[in-house]
C-alpha cells in the first residue's frame, strides 16, 4: 500500500471515529437535555399562593403571617368571582325551564374549571383527596387551566376523510346575555392577583415525602429507597464478588470445574434483569422467605445477584493486572500467599476493584425490573432502617416508570416524573464521578 492510500485510509478512519463519537454525544444530549431542563422544573418554578398554602398545611413550612396576608389579598379578588357565581345561580333559578336546562351543564363546566384553577369554591363540600383541596400550585399549569376556563374544546369532524380536528370556542360567547359573561374577562385579567405567582425554589422536592401519590410534595421516599436498595445490594455483592475474584485468580486450579464456574459467571452477567426479578421473588421470598412479601432486603439480595458477575469480572481483571513482580517481591520476603493477597495484591488492585464496585452500584440504583416483584411499591413513605427486613419501599427507577405509565393522573404530574429521572441520573452520575475521583486519588497514591 503506498503512502497516499495509507494517509487517505488513516484520515477516513479518523473521520469515521469522530463521526461516531459525535453521534453518540448527540444522542446523549437528546436524552439528557430534556431530563435536565424538565427535571430542574420540579425544583425551580413559578409557584402560586396555592403552593404556599399547600406547603403550610401539609408540611407546616412557610411564613404564616405572609401567607395570611397573601391569602387575604387573593381572596379579595376571588370574592368578586364568587359573587358573580352566586349571582348567576340566582339568575338561573329565574330562567325558563328549557333555558335553564341549556345553561346548567355549561355552568357546571365553568365551575369545574374554576375549581381546578382556584381550589374548592364556597359552598363546596370538603374534598376527600388532597389534590382537590388546592388550586393550581404551578403557574404554567394555572395558565393551562385558565385556557380551559376561557375556551371550550370542540371537535371538527365535518370531513369524514380526515381525522377530526380540535378547535376552541370562547365560553363567553355561550353565556352572552347573562350576568356570567363578565366573569371570563375578569378572571383573565385578574388571574395573577388571585394566584400571586412568585419564583419558587422548592428544595423540599428532594427532602419531602409525597402527598396524595405525588400530586404534591417531594421524592424523598424514592431517593431513600433507591439508596437502601443499592447500598444493600453492594453490602452483599461487593465482599462476595471480591472473594470470588480472589478465588478465581489465586486459588482455583484450572480444570473443568473452574471453567464451568467461570462460564456460569459470564452467563449470569448476560441474563436479562427481569429474570433476576422473577428469580428474586421465587427464591428469596417464596423459598427462603427472607420476608413475608416484598421487602428492601429481598430487593437488595436480588440486585446483589444481578451485579455480582460484574463485580467479580472487574475485580478479577484488576487483580490480574497487578504486576507479577509485586507478588514475587512479597513472597520472597517470606510472606504467605494469603498475606500477599491482603497486603500487596488487593491494595494494588483497589482502584480497579472500586471502579467496578461503583459502576455496579450505579447499575443497582438504576435497575427497575429486579425490584418490581421483590421490593418496589408505587407510593409509600420513607421507611426506617429497622424496617428493611419487612417493608417494601418506593424507589426512583420503579416510580419513574410508574408515573410515566401507570399513574391515574400521569399527565398532570410530568414534572415530578422528570424530577425523579433527573435525581436518578444525578445519583448515578455522581457515583460514577466519585469512582473516577477515587480511582485517580488511589492511583496517584500508588504511583507516588
Amino acid at each position: 500500500m503506498n503512502l497516499g492510500t495509507r494517509k487517505i485510509l488513516d484520515r477516513s478512519f479518523t473521520a469515521l471515529g469522530i463521526g461516531s463519537i459525535v453521534i453518540m454525544a448527540l444522542a446523549l444530549m437528546i436524552v439528557i437535555v430534556p431530563i435536565v431542563t424538565n427535571g430542574i422544573g420540579a425544583l425551580f418554578f413559578t409557584g402560586t399562593v396555592e403552593h404556599r398554602k399547600m406547603l403550610f398545611h401539609e408540611f407546616k413550612r412557610g411564613d404564616s403571617q405572609k401567607l395570611t396576608e397573601e391569602s387575604a389579598s387573593a381572596e379579595r379578588y376571588r370574592a368578586k368571582v364568587y359573587e358573580m357565581l352566586s349571582g348567576f345561580e340566582a339568575e338561573l333559578e329565574t330562567m325558563a325551564p328549557e333555558k335553564k336546562r341549556e345553561y346548567q351543564p355549561k355552568y357546571t363546566e365553568v365551575r369545574t374549571a374554576l375549581q381546578a384553577l382556584l381550589g374548592p369554591l364556597p359552598g363546596d363540600p370538603e374534598p376527600m383527596l388532597t389534590r382537590f383541596k388546592y388550586g393550581q400550585t404551578r403557574w404554567e399549569k394555572a395558565e393551562a387551566k385558565l385556557h380551559d376556563l376561557l375556551y371550550e374544546v370542540k371537535w371538527d369532524n365535518s370531513d369524514p376523510n380526515v381525522m377530526s380536528k380540535e378547535y376552541f370556542v370562547s365560553r363567553a360567547i355561550s353565556f352572552e346575555g347573562t350576568s356570567l359573561v363578565k366573569l371570563f374577562p375578569y378572571v383573565e385579567n385578574n388571574i395573577s392577583k388571585m394566584l400571586l405567582p412568585e419564583f419558587t425554589f422548592y428544595w423540599g422536592f428532594i427532602t419531602d415525602s409525597s402527598v396524595d401519590s405525588h400530586f404534591f410534595g417531594g421524592i424523598w421516599p424514592e431517593i431513600q429507597g433507591t439508596f437502601f436498595l443499592a447500598v444493600g445490594a453492594m453490602l452483599f455483592a461487593f465482599p462476595l464478588g471480591v472473594i470470588a475474584a480472589v478465588y478465581f485468580t489465586e486459588y482455583a486450579r484450572p480444570g473443568f470445574f473452574n471453567s464451568m464456574l467461570r462460564s456460569a459467571n459470564s452467563t449470569l452477567a448476560g441474563v436479562p434483569s427481569i429474570v433476576f426479578g422473577m428469580f428474586g421473588l421465587a427464591f428469596f421470598i417464596n423459598t427462603l422467605k427472607v420476608s413475608e412479601s416484598k421487602s428492601v432486603i429481598a430487593g437488595a439480595l436480588t440486585l446483589a445477584i444481578m451485579i455480582l458477575p460484574t463485580i467479580i469480572r472487574a475485580a478479577e481483571e484488576a487483580i490480574l493486572a497487578v504486576p507479577k513482580t509485586y507478588r514475587e517481591a512479597s513472597l520472597s520476603l517470606g510472606s504467605t500467599k494469603w498475606n500477599t493477597i491482603v497486603t500487596v495484591i488487593l491494595p494494588a488492585a483497589l482502584p480497579g476493584i472500586l471502579t467496578g464496585g461503583v459502576i455496579s452500584l450505579g447499575r443497582a440504583a438504576g435497575e427497575t425490573a429486579p425490584i418490581i416483584f421483590t421490593a418496589a411499591v408505587s407510593v409509600g413513605s420513607a421507611i426506617g432502617l429497622a424496617d428493611v427486613f419487612s417493608s417494601p419501599t418506593p424507589a426512583l427507577s420503579w416510580n419513574i416508570y410508574n408515573l410515566a405509565s401507570e399513574h391515574e393522573a400521569a399527565a398532570q404530574i410530568r414534572h415530578v416524573q422528570y424530577g425523579m429521572a433527573l435525581a436518578l441520573v444525578s445519583i448515578v452520575l455522581l457515583l460514577n464521578l466519585s469512582a473516577i475521583v477515587l480511582r485517580a486519588r488511589i492511583s496517584k497514591k500508588l504511583k507516588g
Partner: protein, 284 residues
Amino acid sequence: MTDDASQNLQSSSVKRATREMYLPPERKIVAGGGTPHIVAKEFSIYYGEFEAVKKVSADILSKYVTAIIGPSGCGKSTFLRSINRMNDLIPSCHTTGALLFDGEDVYGKFTDEVLLRKKVGMVFQKPNPFPKSIFDNIAYGPRLHGVNDKKKLMEIVERSLRKAALWDEVCDRLDKNALGLSGGQQQRLCVARTLAVEPEVLLLDEPTSALDPKATAKIEDLIQELRGSYTIMIVTHNMQQASRVSDYTMFFYEGVLVEHAPTAQLFINPKDSMTEDYITGRFS
C-alpha cells in the same frame, strides 16, 4: 570488528590478557574451605517436559559470594529461583534430585517454604518496590514476622537502609512513595528490604542489569560490604562484575553446570574449554 579479526583475537596471548583483565589485583580470597550452605545433588528443574537445569551437583559455601554466569537461557535464573522456591509460582515447574539448605531438603514434603524464603532473600533483575512509602517497603518484612513496635521498626529501617548505602539519600523522605526513586535507588531499596528480614542467603538475579555504571558500582560496593556476613549468589552477564565481586563462579551452559571453581581459578585457568570460550567472548 570483522570475522577475521575476531579469529585472530583467539591467539593464546590475547586470551590470557583478556582473562587477566577481569582480575582486580587486590582480590584476597583465592580459594578456600568452608561449610556448604546450599547443596545440590543431581538436581534437575523442569518446565513441563523441558529440562531447564540438568542434574546439577554443587556445594555453595556459607558466607562466600558465588557468581553464576552463562549464556542467556542457560538456566541461571531458574536455578537461582529454585533455591527459595520462587519457581512454585510457575505451575508447570517441578524438580528432581535434591537441593539442601542447611542440610534440609528444600523440596521436602514438610518444608515450610515461607520460612525458607525468610532465610533466603532475593533481589530481582528489575527493581520491584511495592507501591508504598519507602518506610513501609522496608518495614514490610519485619511487620510480617511480627515486629510492630514503631521504634523498633524505625531502627530496622535505618539499619537496613544504611547497609544498602541508601540512608543518606532517602532519610528525609521515608514517607514518600518508593516508586518515586530512581532505578538505582529502587534497586538498593529492594536490597535493603531484603536485608530487613535478616536472611542468611541473598540471591541476586542480575541486580545491576537495569542500572547505570554509577548505580552498578554502588551495588557492587554493597556486595563487598555484605560479603562475609551473608551467603550471596549473584547471576550476572557481566564477566568483569563476576570477577570483581565473587569468590566462586559457576558457569552454566544449556542447563548443565559446566564448571564451578574459585573465581580466580575459573577466569585464569578454566578447566573446560567451553568456559574458556565463554569468558573470552567467543559466544555470549
